[in-house]
């Protein structure tokens, strides 16, 4: 069972992602609504994968990626991005994110991406 921490400031988005993940056999072990919470939750829960929104209050997803990767260089983080955020995604990747999904996403894209990232060494 692959454990996932879902990070998004929109509760709607968290629910949507959680629904998809749960339906496809992932375990959502926690949720966070901003970057700061994401870092705390990551250190507490140590999930296999984090799905990370980019634009969030308090601390952006990119900053959170940097902090999480600083604590755990093996952390696997998948960015959830909207169209038009190309540069943000690039920065996230340079900061250590493993992959990304573009909103509005297809269910199978999430599943495929997360499975791929989880399997990668």
């Amino acid at each position: 069972m692959i454990s996932v921490l879902v990070v998004d400031d929109a509760a709607f988005m968290r629910l949507a992602i959680k629904n998809v993940l749960t339906k496809n056999g992932f375990t959502v072990v926690g949720e966070a609504a901003n970057g700061r919470e994401a870092v705390e939750k990551y250190l507490e829960l140590r999930p296999d994968i984090v799905t990370m929104d980019i634009t969030m209050p308090d601390m952006t997803g990119i900053e959170a990626v940097k902090q999480i990767r600083a604590e755990d260089p093996n952390a696997k983080i998948v960015m959830i991005s909207a169209m038009g955020q190309e540069n943000m995604v690039k920065e996230a990747i340079l900061s250590g994110a493993k992959s990304f999904i573009v909103k509005p996403y297809k269910e199978e894209h999430i599943v495929m991406t997360l499975n791929k990232v989880a399997a990668a060494t």
């Binding site: 929109a10 894209h109 495929m112």
Partner: protein
């Protein structure tokens, strides 16, 4: 992407969160207007909200909503990235508010089950696009901050020649619709770079154009690496959303091409300051229907509890253990009831916040300067009650602005500050919440009200007999309006009685007081909840009635010399030097009973809003929490049961009518 649209709980969440976002947006705009311009934080926050709405709406396939939010996001992007750009903040505020209204209406039509996406919405999108174009042209002189960073050539790859290792050509195809193919390609490069002696790729510039090309033709890589083919394939296979991968050994030297080696663009930190941040709490949102159901069940449980503990089958012998158990059960039920009730309580803040907008819009339109001050917005009331509060509040505030607050000139002439002030306050008092709306306008005019009342045939007493307060409260009578000219805002006299109607639907009352020249004050009294009340069960003949305990001042058995009849045959009772009207319930409703003399029965003194009356009943049954059930409409025909506020089921299974307190103290009997 419409695979999400059919999901009810998601839709609910979408509607809920989007409305919340819009409310938050409204607050930001209003604060901005107060501050006289958009602060950096405000711009960021608006950008973020629009971004969130865009994403969620796209997920639910509400294209127009998503598009509108996207356009707003674009607009605020320009402002965010070009702080120096000149714009009229009031023009933008107006646009954002108009846009918000439009989105609110879209949400409503989704709630109503209509298709989202209206002509209005599309017009709105055009408006935003126009402004966007204007803004864009203003910043065109400065380099656009969002232009994709160009991949720069790297010396290592450009040299091309003398690099040792195996040479491969790889072609990568991504899943259709996965989005941002150019960034995916960039990701592959980032990943592969450390393992390669040389790396070149086509298209060489990973910009927006490239995304399209990669989507159509795939992404080509020329790789020189110490890895074997298998190792390379294994590595590339880890790419997410990979549809197809071809790797073949290359015979020729890779063509010199550019290599990706770009510095991450330093984006400004997005951390916002406290002013606009709304910390999400650890909460879950639950559908109101579920809470209603829980409350219903709670009500049933209370009745069932009474049925057990007061069952006629129970032996008359003392049962200490049983009694101990029932006492414990009762305590738990009580706590549970409180808990269920508290779930349904919502702070008034949201409702109060809406008023800022009303004040702003009307003030602008009527050229009046008004400040709204709110306090006690933390006060909580039942969800069902709050829905009935918004309209009356809007109405009273509009009335204050339209009729109460004078124009700035008039105010200055009267020695008042040019700014009018409206205060909105809430606090709880026992089982009630008191909301007051006060202004410092011209106040109510007794003569005008009386004149109007006479014209409309609403005056049924000599005017000299009426106190100022009584006169003022006539404005709540149906079909009353002192303003000769009907304005856009304060309607045509259908107003005030609607306030009364709305409030009485939740058991609330409204009254007004005024000091001429100094302003007026409207007081609304609303019960915290309407579903479960503390009642006194009384017996009249074979029937049982329930009287809300909050209205009972005392119960007593009178002596013969306390009872007398006045010259018109009305029965009265003396109580500690006070003379009160006495009504015998069995006579009111022709109920056969053996107890016909007040000295054999019990008198119940009812008081509300300073009005007191005594009612005679046969006996008291006891106090109990009762669940208020609405009377079916086929029972409550006409005025036949005007005295009943509802009914309830007692422990023994019999039905008891809950008496309506305003009727008891006010009706003409």
């Amino acid at each position: 992407m419409s695979e999400f649209a059919g999901n009810d709980s998601l839709l609910e969440m979408f509607l809920y969160e989007t409305s919340q976002n819009l409310e938050q947006l409204e607050q930001i705009i209003l604060k901005t207007e107060e501050a006289g311009g958009f602060s950096e934080e405000a711009v960021k926050e608006i950008f973020r909200i629009m971004h969130t709405i865009k994403g969620s709406a796209a997920m639910m396939s509400f294209e127009d909503i998503s598009k509108l939010a996207h356009r707003m996001e674009d607009l605020f992007f320009i402002i965010r990235e070009n702080p120096a750009v000149s714009y009229s903040s009031s023009e933008i505020s107006d646009l954002v508010l108009a846009c918000m209204d439009c989105l609110h209406r879209e949400l409503q039509s989704i709630r109503d089950g209509d298709a989202a996406g209206s002509e209005e919405c599309r017009r709105m999108i055009e408006r935003v696009e126009q402004l966007h174009a204007v803004m864009k042209s203003r910043v065109d002189n400065t380099p656009a901050a969002d232009s994709p960073s160009k991949a720069s050539g790297s010396p290592a790859a450009a040299q091309g020649g003398n690099i040792s290792g195996n040479r491969f050509e790889a072609k990568i195809t991504f899943e259709p619709d996965c989005g941002m193919e150019n960034i995916r390609a960039f990701f592959v490069i980032q990943d592969l770079q450390p393992l390669c002696a040389a790396l070149a790729y086509e298209p060489s510039e990973l910009d927006d154009e490239a995304a399209k090309r990669i989507r159509e033709q795939g992404f080509l890589l020329h790789i020189t690496t110490p890895l074997s083919r298998d190792e390379l394939v294994r590595h590339l296979s880890q790419t997410a959303l990979l549809k197809d991968l071809e790797v073949k050994e290359a015979a020729q030297e890779p063509k010199p091409a550019k290599k990706a080696q770009e510095e991450p663009k330093q984006t400004k930190s997005d951390v916002t300051t406290d002013e606009y941040r709304f910390q999400p709490q650890s909460m879950i949102s639950v559908g109101v229907a579920k809470l209603d159901r829980l409350l219903d069940l709670m009500g049933e449980a209370i009745i069932a509890e009474a049925m057990v503990t007061e069952s006629p089958d129970l032996p008359a012998t003392p049962m200490p253990d049983f009694r101990k158990a029932t006492a414990r059960l009762r305590r738990i039920m009580q706590e549970m009831q409180d808990a269920v009730m508290s779930l349904r309580l919502v702070p008034l803040a949201g409702t109060f916040q809406k008023m800022f907008r009303i004040v702003r819009d009307m003030g602008k339109k009527l050229n009046k300067q008004i400040e709204l001050k709110i306090s006690g917005e933390d006060t909580e009331v039942d969800k069902n009650v709050i829905e009935h509060l918004s309209d009356p509040l809007i109405h009273m505030i509009r009335n204050s602005i339209d009729h109460g607050i004078e124009s700035p000139d008039e105010r200055v002439a009267a020695g008042k500050p040019a700014y009018g002030t409206i205060r909105l306050d809430a606090h709880s008092a026992g089982g009630d919440v008191i909301i007051t709306i006060s202004d410092d306008g011209r106040g109510l005019n007794r003569e005008k009200i009386l004149k109007k009342a006479k014209q409309n045939g609403l005056l049924n007493r000599p005017e000299e007999d009426m106190t100022d307060r009584e006169v003022y409260n006539m404005i709540f009578l149906p079909g009353f309006s002192t303003k000769e000219n009907v304005t856009e805002f304060s309607g045509r006299g259908v107003g005030m009685d609607v306030v009364v109607k709305n409030l009485s639907a939740v058991g609330g009352t409204v009254s007004v007081d005024s000091t001429p020249g100094k302003g007026m004050k409207v007081t609304m009294k609303i019960p915290l909840t309407i579903a479960i009340i503390d009642g006194m069960n009384v017996v009249v003949g074979d029937l049982k009635y329930t009287i809300p305990t909050s209205a009972i001042r005392e119960t007593f058995r009178p002596t013969k010399d306390q009872i007398f009849t006045d010259t018109e045959g009305n029965e009265m009772v003396w109580l500690r030097g006070e003379c009160l009207s006495l009504y015998r319930m069995y006579k009111l409703w022709n109920i056969p009973t053996n107890i016909t003399e007040p000295t054999d029965g019990i008198l119940v003194l009812i008081e509300q809003d300073g009005k007191r009356r005594c009612f005679m009943v046969d006996s008291l049954l006891g106090r109990q929490q009762v669940v208020v059930k609405r009377l079916p409409s086929y029972v409550k025909r006409g005025d036949r049961l005007a005295h009943a506020a509802g009914c309830t089921l007692l422990g023994d299974g019999s039905i008891s009518l809950i008496l309506d307190v305003p009727w008891l103290v006010g009706a003409e009997i």
